[in-house]
């Protein structure tokens, strides 16, 4: 739902980088999106298509890299990796788990000309 805000944030960062590094065009943009970031990737892609128009990144290839979700199990105490927010602990089967990472949303890097 807020993917448009995120796309605006991405454009702002790209514009600032274009100023700082003096490149003409972004050819590939790589984003890291955590499993628990609450980002709908197709919606973000759609928003970027609109928001990046007229910027140095218009038409750039967009790669989204999934970062795993990590969580602390409150019953067995282990830090585990889970694919879905509601998955039980893979070690003990408990459902009481608290995310400890995987909410990242970052621009990792970009290839530019």
């Amino acid at each position: 739902m807020h993917e448009m805000s995120l796309a605006e944030g991405i454009r702002r960062i790209i514009d600032a980088q274009a100023q700082a590094h003096g490149f003409q065009r972004v050819t590939i943009l790589r984003l890291e999106i955590g499993r628990f970031a609450g980002v709908e990737k197709p919606a973000l892609k759609f928003a970027l298509d609109v928001v990046l128009r007229g910027s140095t990144a218009e038409g750039a290839g967009i790669e989204m890299i999934d970062l795993p979700g990590r969580a602390l199990c409150y019953d067995c105490g282990a830090t585990v990796e889970i694919a879905d927010r509601l998955d039980p602990c893979p070690l003990c089967g408990s459902g009481k788990i608290m995310p400890q990472g995987g909410d990242e949303m970052r621009i990792k890097d970009m290839e530019v000309i």
Partner: protein, 289 residues
């Protein structure tokens, strides 16, 4: 266009257009308070005659990409919400300097946030406090809050689905908070987006009313994971809608084992004491060195 919220019209604060031309008395940390305008930037620049060299790893952030001629890889590693987070950090510094305690009230529309807030303000008596009301449209909620005698600023987000750190910073400027105030930020009714946007608050408080369904914490886990307290509101209605309060609490604790659950009826006053105690304890903790 407001650069943070991305909504096309920009938020309105109390019916006035969210003007960006006025002087900004507040500091946004080390950021210049610039707003991206949508005019195209032309980045054509000339590199003199010796443009045969390749830009391998120029600058601190650049690294070379093997096999690519003038192509460069720029490592950024920047959080997409970095700008919002810097506004939030600035708000947090202002609040800390005042020993003020801010809560960000989040819920679906109709959970009873404004009624809970009105009852809370009445019960707190002469405690210094202020309210920031976020809604897409209307100043109805700020009007209700002002009827209690409290200071309130309405922020209309237009098409925006959440408050962000930038809007709250502006609203805080208008409120001129007294030292050791409580600041209540009533977010846009929405169980999804406000979870991602830090406003500089001390705690998010999620309000869930017993008419909404026991499985809401499982359906919208991000919000209940981000919240430190969940207020289970409208418990006076529980017998009339077959609500299982223990099931609500069980699902909240499953999603967030650390969450504090308070069972409240803002209408009858049941459970309000524990909520007021939690607020007072939070405020007292801010004043301690």
């Amino acid at each position: 266009m407001c650069t943070v919220c991305g909504c096309s019209e920009g938020p309105k604060i109390d019916g006035t257009a969210h003007a960006h031309g006025h002087a900004h008395a507040h500091s946004h940390g080390d950021m210049t308070h610039s707003h991206a305008h949508d005019h195209p930037h032309d980045h054509a620049h000339s590199h003199g005659a010796d443009h045969d060299h390749h830009h391998y790893g120029q600058g601190a952030a650049g690294v070379s990409v093997p096999g690519m001629s003038q192509m460069r890889l720029i490592q950024i590693e920047t959080d997409i919400l970095a700008k919002n987070n810097s506004y939030a950090a600035s708000n947090r510094r202002v609040l800390a300097a005042l020993d003020a305690f801010a809560v960000n009230l989040v819920s679906s529309p109709g959970s009873g946030k404004t009624t809970l807030l009105c009852r809370t303000i009445e019960a707190l008596g002469d405690q210094p406090l202020a309210v920031i009301e976020g809604d897409q449209q209307t100043s109805n909620d700020a009007d209700r809050i002002r009827a209690t005698g409290a200071r309130a600023v309405q922020v209309n987000t237009g098409k925006g689905c959440h408050l962000d750190g930038h809007m709250v910073g502006h609203a805080m400027d208008d409120l001129h908070l007294a030292p050791q105030s409580l600041l209540f930020i009533e977010n846009v009714g929405n169980l999804v987006c406000p979870a991602a946007f830090d406003l500089g608050e001390d705690a998010k408080v999620a309000i869930l009313s017993v008419t909404e369904g026991e499985d809401k914490p499982l359906k919208y886990p991000d919000m209940f994971t981000a919240a430190r307290v969940a207020i289970l509101n409208k418990i006076d209605l529980a017998p009339h809608c077959d609500a299982d309060l223990d099931a609500y609490e069980g699902n909240l604790k499953r999603i967030n084992p650390e969450i504090t659950v308070l069972r409240v009826s803002a209408r009858t006053g049941e459970g309000m004491g524990a909520w007021l105690d939690w607020l007072r304890a939070g405020l007292a903790a801010k004043s301690r060195p």
